[in-house]
Amino acid sequence: MARFIARRLGLICITLLVVSVVIFVITELLPGDVAAMILGKEATEESLERLREELGLNRPAHERYLSWIGDVLRGDLGDSYALKMPITDIVGRRLRHSVILAAFAFLVGVPAAVAAGIWAGMHPNTKLDRLISMTALVGISVPEFVTGLLLILLFTSTLHLLPSSSIILPGVNPLTSPQILIMPALTVTSVLFAYIMRMTRANVIEVMQADYIRTAILKGLPMKRIILRHLFPNAMLPTITVIASSFGWMLGGIIIVENVFAYPGIGQLLLRSIETHDIPLLEVVTLIIAGTYAISNLLADLSYAALDPRVRLA
């Protein structure tokens, strides 16, 4: 097992390295000049040149990349081109905001989805099942930005209950003003819930047909035990993979949601750094997102192995 994890971690490192190269190359190819973007249209050629010198933009691309990656490996993420601040400071705060959003979606959305999925799977084609399934279908088909806008329309424009944007001033803890969190969190959760609920329901229906459930029933076990010991562990196996992959999906959702609600998280930062060609910042943000994705997949595989003796003891 230890060897497996080490191997996977090694692979993740390689993946991240490749991602960083790809990002670097793409930003190099994008039109636009960093210096011009930072200093604005009125900047003189001289000042542009000085800025380029300062940022080291005059050196050839591969040299810049190598020195950047060298710094990163030494633990120094460098400064943002545009904001002229240490990246650690910028990212740290934003990351906290995004984690709050993600954690909410995950801690509320996933258990709710799994519970709803199990119930619906155990009572297929009942009225409530149809209702849950329909809602989930809508949740999946409507993209986040639409859901977000609909929520704004409802809660802000019509009911005047919540602010339409979720700007957080520096130094303010978003948890002290939960009203700005509600809409972004709901939006992110909606898709996550829908997706996981549908998969759980399908798995439960499938496992209910399995021969070993028949065995359990004809052993005379009470329903509670059949669900907890026989149905649940087996139905959760495929669901775990789904949860992991929906985690990656949720990251995508967060990027969109943060931009819709102007919520200062990592997703908004990503967009900003692309606009300004802020390579060091962009690299760090991308690597964080890619790394989270890879690690969540690894965790899914590990928990799969923990639950499934066929994998663990193969």
Partner: protein, 691 residues
């Protein structure tokens, strides 16, 4: 029924049971009229072919019907268990009986155990639920029960997960679990179907042994008359959702009073009788009754019955008493005897030409996957590739049939696929007469492709579901026999008649045909090419015995008329024994024995062949079962053998030489082609096996 029986309440009394499913696709009368009783200490076998309703009748007893058909179901008739009405019983009370007083064992033990739970725990939960015992006692009792069903290391086995056990061990666990609370009624639904024949034999031994030890009534559901003869005290035969005959096992097997039972018995290829006369297999014409048909104003067997009279088509026969606790649902039971299916014809053996072999295979080898190394590409080799076949050679004579037998994982299907060019061989060569065949089918010439046809177990894989059945045959005729459009349609109808199908069937789509009809269409297409060699890979395995016999006879007739050679692959030694001229016995990718059928099946034979032969259940309750049984574990697919491939399980193993040195090839008496791969010299084998 005698007086004594009448007075005591039977353990289980099923009376006029009927089960109907109402689905969006229509109404299905799956069980129409089933009645039987079981006494304590008695084994009643419920036999019949696919779709006759035997399993559903069994599951109706424990009221478990939903998964068979989604939708509504309705149960009529009565089921009394120790005088209590099981149909009317409230769920909570039924739950107390299930697993406790009435326990079940199923087909497919592998999927019937929870894969994520240790088997010991799965056992203990039954004990805790019904007997309310503490963990410690439950654990102790589990060990005892595992021991009582002959599981080795009973105290350790509970720690394992189902996938760590072999199929035979899984089924023992299931049986132990069913016995946990000392049930009064044990229902076993095809408990040995799907297991290898040597494993099946050991499970049947266990059942015979249990019969003496437990005081339960056993309902044994099976389609296999051989296994039924081995364990049953009484037999109930089902056809089209009805019990058609019922009685003591010996009466059913020896003096059957229903045409269907006599027919069924004659469809099973029997070992040659004492006087060595070989008779032709017989079959029941037509197909089994469909559950959506509802005409109850007739005997349901009438369309297939050789004795049917006017009244059989207009009146439904009741169950009639025909002897001491022997009943039959036939108006004319008094006239039933073996001869109604026609006199036994001697088998036309002819003189099979061996002059020139059609196919010659040499040193075929195939492994799947690669050696895995410790660090992906480097380091020591840690995991060998999967062995399929190691070094296999054989010859198929002109107009002869080579039967290939062996249990799952022995490599028989791989051999077929290598010859057919569906997977490339890694080593070895295959000669079609004198031409070398390329490894893959795409590289072979059109003539070579036409010369070699393959028939698979599942006919649907060979038929296009969107086109009428005719299409498959016509395409073969045009492509392989190069007939014109018009000629090929005419010839297709001839072929349809040759496989006993009305030409009208050709215009149906595959889905409108039964499994047996589909397989006959596939055969007609295979015959169309006028091939030199047809490879039939488990081609009759999924068919019911009555239909299987029809297909085997077609193969036989076609061979006699056209001189086509066959490679016939099957796990069913009885069928192979019947159809083959030569036999190749495979074990774990190696040849154990090969040669002319009569030599291989007689003394002396390889210890593995001997074990296989003695494991085959014979449909005769008086047959004395041979006691050669294989212990040990089947070698894993990745295992490499230092010495003899069979050493791990061989009951005749002679010592370390078997473990260390690959066995030599001895030539048996009787034929220079009879090869036995074993260290034991031929004379010694003869002596050992004659005792």
């Amino acid at each position: 029924m005698n007086e004594k029986r009448k007075n005591e309440t039977p353990l289980l009394e099923v009376d006029h049971l009927a089960v109907t499913f109402y689905t969006p696709h229509g109404t299905f009368n799956v069980v129409r009229d089933v009645s039987f009783t079981i006494q304590r200490g008695e084994v009643l076998a419920l036999v019949g072919e696919t779709g006759c309703g035997k399993s559903i009748s069994a599951f109706a007893i424990v009221r478990y019907l939903l998964p068979f058909h989604p939708g509504e179901s309705r149960v009529d008739g009565t089921i009394f268990f120790e005088g209590k009405d099981l149909i009317a019983m409230p769920d909570s009370e039924l739950q107390k009986l299930r697993g406790n007083r009435i326990a079940m064992v199923y087909q497919n033990p592998g999927t019937s155990l929870n894969p994520t739970m240790r088997v010991g725990l799965q056992m203990e939960e039954v004990l805790k639920q019904h007997l309310r015992v503490e963990s410690k006692q439950a654990h102790q009792r589990t060990v005892e029960l595992f021991d009582s069903v002959g599981l080795a290391e009973p105290d350790r086995i509970g720690q394992r997960y189902p996938h760590q056990l072999s199929g035979g061990m899984q089924q023992r666990v299931m049986i132990a679990m069913a016995l946990a609370c000392d049930p009064d009624l044990l229902i076993m639904d095809e408990p040995t179907t799907g297991l290898d024949v040597t494993t099946e034999a050991t499970i049947l031994d266990l059942m015979v042994d249990l019969k003496q030890r437990v005081n339960a009534g056993i309902l044994f559901v099976s389609h296999n008359l051989g296994t039924v003869a081995r364990v049953a005290d009484r037999v109930a035969v089902m056809y089209a959702g009805q019990t058609v005959e019922q009685g003591p096992a010996s009466a059913i097997f020896k003096r059957s009073k229903h045409p269907y039972t006599t027919g069924l018995l004659q469809c099973v290829p029997q070992p040659p009788s004492e006087d060595e006369t070989n008779t032709r297999l017989r079959s029941i014409p037509g197909d089994t009754y469909a559950p959506e048909e509802v005409n109850l104003q007739a005997c349901l067997f009438a369309p297939r019955c050789p004795m049917a009279q006017e009244m059989c088509h207009t009146e439904a026969p009741e169950i009639l008493s025909v002897g001491d606790s022997h009943q039959s649902r036939c108006f004319f039971w008094n006239n039933v005897h073996k001869g109604i299916w026609g006199e036994l014809e001697p088998r036309d053996e002819g003189i099979r030409e061996t002059a020139e072999p059609v196919l010659n295979a040499n040193k075929l080898q195939r492994f799947f996957g690669q050696w895995q190394r410790k660090y992906i590409l480097f380091g020591p080799r840690v995991r060998p590739p999967v062995r399929a076949v190691t070094d296999i050679g054989f010859e198929v004579g002109g107009g002869r049939t080579l039967g290939i037998v062996g249990e799952s994982g022995c490599g028989k299907t791989t051999v077929a696929r290598l010859v057919a060019g569906l997977i490339p061989r890694q080593r070895g060569d295959i000669l079609l007469r004198t031409e070398e065949l390329a490894p893959m089918i795409e590289e072979r010439t059109d003539q070579q492709r036409a010369a070699l046809r393959m028939v698979f177990q599942n006919p649907t894989t060979s038929l296009n579901p969107k086109l009428p059945a005719r299409h498959t045959i016509v395409r073969s005729l045009q492509k392989l026999a190069r007939l014109s459009r018009k000629d090929s349609h005419e010839r297709a109808e001839e072929l349809a008649r040759a496989v006993r199908l009305e030409p009208a069937y050709l215009d149906r789509r595959p889905e409108a045909l039964s499994g047996g009809e589909q397989q006959r269409i596939v055969l007609a297409a295979a015959f169309a090419g006028e091939s030199d060699l047809i490879i039939a890979d488990e081609a009759v395995a999924s068919l019911d015995v009555s239909v299987q016999a029809q297909v085997i006879k077609l193969l036989e007739d076609h061979q006699r008329e056209s001189g086509t050679s066959y490679i016939f692959i099957s796990h069913d030694l009885g069928v192979v024994r019947y159809i083959s001229d030569d036999i190749l016995v495979l074990y774990a990718g190696h040849i154990a024995e090969s040669g002319p059928a009569e030599c291989v099946l007689n003394i002396p034979s390889h210890p593995y062949t001997e074990a296989l032969l003695s494991a085959v259940p014979i449909p005769d309750p008086d047959a004395t079962p041979t006691r050669i049984r294989l212990g040990g574990a089947v070698p894993t697919l990745r295992e490499r053998f230092q010495g003899c491939f069979f050493a791990g399980r061989c009951p005749r193993k002679i010592g370390p030489i078997c473990d260390n040195t690959p066995p030599p090839v001895h030539i048996g008496p009787g034929s220079p082609d009879h090869a036995i791969h074993c260290h034991i010299p031929v004379e010694e084998l003869i002596k050992l096996q004659s005792d």
